[in-house]
């Protein structure tokens, strides 16, 4: 579903991604983990071309994302993206946040967009928050609205860049539950996360990055008990012991 081939990317003369290749089969959930500065955000952002690449190829559902001939706006409707800092539109209510893109991009009628938006918000436990502005919502609620907003475009893949890192601990679960439900429904996902328990539980594969390279890929059961590389062992001993 997602195919990343030999991607390189630099900011100035700082090489941030070095020859990264990764396949994500349909309905798989990949956890992207690694130390801060490893290039996880940069990589996940190249998948919907929020970040351009220097070379290499990325295809999502058969569409070559960085090809000049691709209409990136159409391609992006197929790729949901959830940010660490939510990035909700503060001047719109929760429901308006969710209906804006379906109406303006897909040309849905207001009625159709609202019907779908209400379904999505309700399915994420936000049935009493349709008319709330973001600044009236908790972090966990805001992130769930952001997930609903992405899902409203009916994407075939979902990308999450540290979706729970900006949340108070007691709100992490509600957001992880939402992602867990998507996994159960067979959504193809890449999740950058520091939630190791979550990664272990729902992910089909762990991809460990350091210094712009994929250092190790393994099934969670293997990765968390017996990683092959020293780099991954060091990382795990740091995050699991604290």
């Amino acid at each position: 579903m997602i195919s990343i081939k030999n991607v390189n990317k630099s900011f100035g003369d700082h090489q941030v991604l070095t020859d990264v290749s990764l396949e994500v089969p349909k309905s798989n959930v990949i956890a992207l983990i690694g130390p801060s500065g490893a290039g996880k955000s940069t990589l996940i952002r190249t998948i919907n071309a929020l970040e351009p690449v220097d070379n290499g190829e990325i295809t999502v559902d058969g569409t070559s994302i960085h090809d000049k001939k691709t209409d990136i706006n159409v391609a992006r409707t197929n790729i949901g993206f959830v940010f660490q800092s939510f990035n909700l539109f503060p001047f719109l209510t929760a429901l308006e946040n969710v209906t804006m893109a379906p109406m303006k991009v897909k040309g849905l009628s207001k009625e159709a967009a609202e019907k779908r938006g209400k379904e999505l918000l309700s399915s994420l436990g936000l049935e009493d928050k349709f008319d709330a502005y973001p600044n009236r919502l908790s972090g966990g609620q805001q992130q769930r609205v952001a997930i609903a907003r992405a899902l409203a475009m009916d994407p075939t893949v979902m990308l999450f860049d540290e979706p729970t890192s900006a949340l108070d601990p007691e709100m992490v679960t509600e957001v992880l539950d939402a992602i867990r439900k998507l996994a159960k429904d067979g959504m193809t996902m890449v999740v950058v996360t520091h939630e190791m328990g979550f990664a272990k539980e729902i992910c089909d594969e762990i991809v460990f990055m350091a210094e712009g390279k994929i250092v190790e890929r393994a099934a969670p059961s293997k990765f968390f008990t017996n990683p092959d590389t020293q780099r991954a062992q060091d990382f795990l001993s740091k995050v699991l012991n604290h």
Binding site: L50, T77, I79, F81, F89, A101, K104, V105, A150, M153
Partner: protein
Amino acid sequence: MYQYDWSVISRNMDVFIDGALKTLEISAISILLAIPIGILFGLGRISKNKIIFIISSTYIEIIRGVPLLVLLMWIFYVLGQFFSLGSYWGSIVGLALFAGAFIAEIVRSGIQGVPKGQMEAARSLGMSHTKAMTHIILPQAFRRVLPPLASQFIMLIKDSSLVSVIAATDLTLNAKNLVATSFRSIEVWTFVALVYFIMTFSLSLILRYFEKRLLKSET
């Protein structure tokens, strides 16, 4: 001892009212022209197109670097050689160009003040740059620019007093003429200051009221 004679005010009230109305008229037309100028050049200032950027920056920098008084003189005496603007339209063009440059900077900083994540979120949903601008960025920029824009409107009323130097009829010119015939400079200028203050302060209250009403729904 100076003998105050405040009756000069009441006897010439029509002169003050005429002048104040002219001041408001010139300011209002100038602002109405300055807003589209400001939006256009403000957008130009953040344009990726080099030529548009350079034109916008040049305009803004020149206007910000020239005193309004000199700009008005220049329009009246230099541009006046080629276009017969007269003092009325010369004043309006001068004020509009002047306020336009400042509004352009307000618009630019309003747009750039919207967090980067807003554009990214909009684009990640499949909106084109233009759609994201129209539906997500500009509405937020608009809310941000309201207070500085209001100050700019008020400033313009005050700045408009300079048009008297190119003989445009306004409150200040009427006052000057009245002083020249009545020799009552203390009374006249005191009253003129009061009238300017009343005009700007009421406008300030009105704008504040609209700003509150507009933003009320979102908090």
